[in-house]
Amino acid sequence: MLSDAIVPLLLTLKVASLATLLASIVGIALGKLLGRRRTFTRDVAESLLTLPLVLPPTVLGYYLLVVLGQNGVIGTWLTSWFGISLIFTWQGAVVAAAVAAFPLILRAARASFSDVDAQLENAARSLGASETEVFFRVTLPLAWRGILAGALLAFARAMGEFGATLMVAGSLPGRTQTLSLAIYDAVMAGDDARAASMVIISLITAVVLLIVAAQLLQRRRHA
């Protein structure tokens, strides 16, 4: 019974990890780009970028399907340049989960970066550091805890992603059927026993994640 859950679980972990990684890179870069200054334009930009968080997942999934699909702007580019399509693939599931989760990292990153004392960044500049060096040696190390908190939320969101994933990647067992989709299909097929065992696995995974998160955030490097 529990073996039913292994394949979807491993797939979900793979998709969620890669999605969080992708979302982190984009979220941190954009968080840095948006910067400390709260101008009207920058705040509007941040709000627009946060849209995936507030849109219903199926709406998000629909727009992703339109953009990434056969006739979509990005879809046709991918097909003509690389000969690949993201629809019905686990890579598509990664993209869907990443888009859904990245606003969580963006907001955490922007806030954490502005919390870093500007004077420290100035000190680094006066010591000869380039902007990239300032970012990697001072800003990021001092902001990482806040960003990590955002990333953990993003991972949880990516693990539970359903609506957008279903639209973009479909529910193909073994290929794109993540744990949430597998539970849904099992319920729809009337296989309650299978659904129940997968729900238990989800719960255990969530609890383990929470414990790991608490440990990570507690460990102090210096007072």
Binding site: S171, M188, A189, G190
Partner: protein, 249 residues
């Protein structure tokens, strides 16, 4: 003064009881019945003022699951006998009201601009990266397709190409959108998107595609539900179904 009050009260009660006869009839119907049942619902409402038809479309198995778990559906219309049989077994329906009301055919569709396959076996070929089929675990259309493909000895061969859809309309959408190169839907579904998909061939199924309808066992509006079921089977209801391409049961 007192007589006025009494008359007024009587009028109030009269109006209230009239309103009490009006019902919200929830109709859980297979996804392939979307267009036809929406039209039938409106015609029914015109004939029975005060009654409102609330339609709930999804794959037949999903609908049955909802009913079994206590969803307040009054009418259940499924796309195959198998699901209705299960409904009868779990006492979800009033068996005396069960009646077949329509029939359909299974077809293989491809995108409007694609070259249709000459025979069914062709779909096993490399051009058909994705073939959309309703998930046989929960969609009757998927079961009909699986049955046909198994007898054609194609089912195992095309496994890697299959994209399971949540219901027959989603399978249709996948082909219409170009994400799937072929799909198995009902002839009536193909009609609704005839500018985007073409019927390559009719797929004969050993089990005939027949739609039964029944009043649910726990319906709170049994009378109105029965009236709706009768309306579906009436000349008017049948005419609407025929318009959308369904045949007589």
């Amino acid at each position: 003064m007192r007589r006025m009050n009494r008359l007024f009260l009587a009028a109030l009660i009269g109006a209230a009881s009239l309103h009490a006869c009006a019902a919200d009839v929830i109709v859980s119907a297979a996804a392939s019945l979307s267009n036809s049942f929406n039209d039938i619902g409106k015609l029914y409402e015109a004939k029975h003022p005060g009654d409102k038809i609330v339609a709930n479309f999804a794959a037949s198995d999903v609908l049955l699951k909802q009913i079994e778990q206590g969803a307040p559906a009054d009418v259940f219309a499924s796309a195959d006998e198998q699901t209705m049989d299960r409904a009868a077994q779990s006492n979800a329906i009033d068996k005396s009201t069960r009646k077949d009301f329509a029939a359909n055919t299974l077809v293989l569709i491809v995108g409007a601009n694609a070259k249709p396959p000459a025979k069914l076996d062709d779909i096993a070929g490399g051009d058909y990266t994705h073939i959309a089929i309703g998930n046989p675990d929960s969609v009757p259309a998927g079961r009909y397709a699986k049955e046909a493909l198994m007898s054609a000895k194609l089912w195992d061969k095309i496994q890697p190409q299959i994209v399971p859809a949540q219901n027959v309309r989603q399978a249709l959408d996948y082909v219409a959108r170009g994400e799937a190169q072929a799909g198995f839907v009902y002839a009536t579904d193909a009609e609704t998107q005839k500018d985007k998909v073409h019927v390559a061939m009719t797929v004969p199924t050993s089990t005939p595609v027949r739609y039964p309808i029944a009043v649910t066992a726990k319906s709170q509006h049994a009378a109105a539900a029965k009236a709706f079921v009768d309306f579906v089977n009436s000349a008017e209801g049948q005419a609407v179904l025929k318009k959308y391409g369904f045949s007589a049961p």
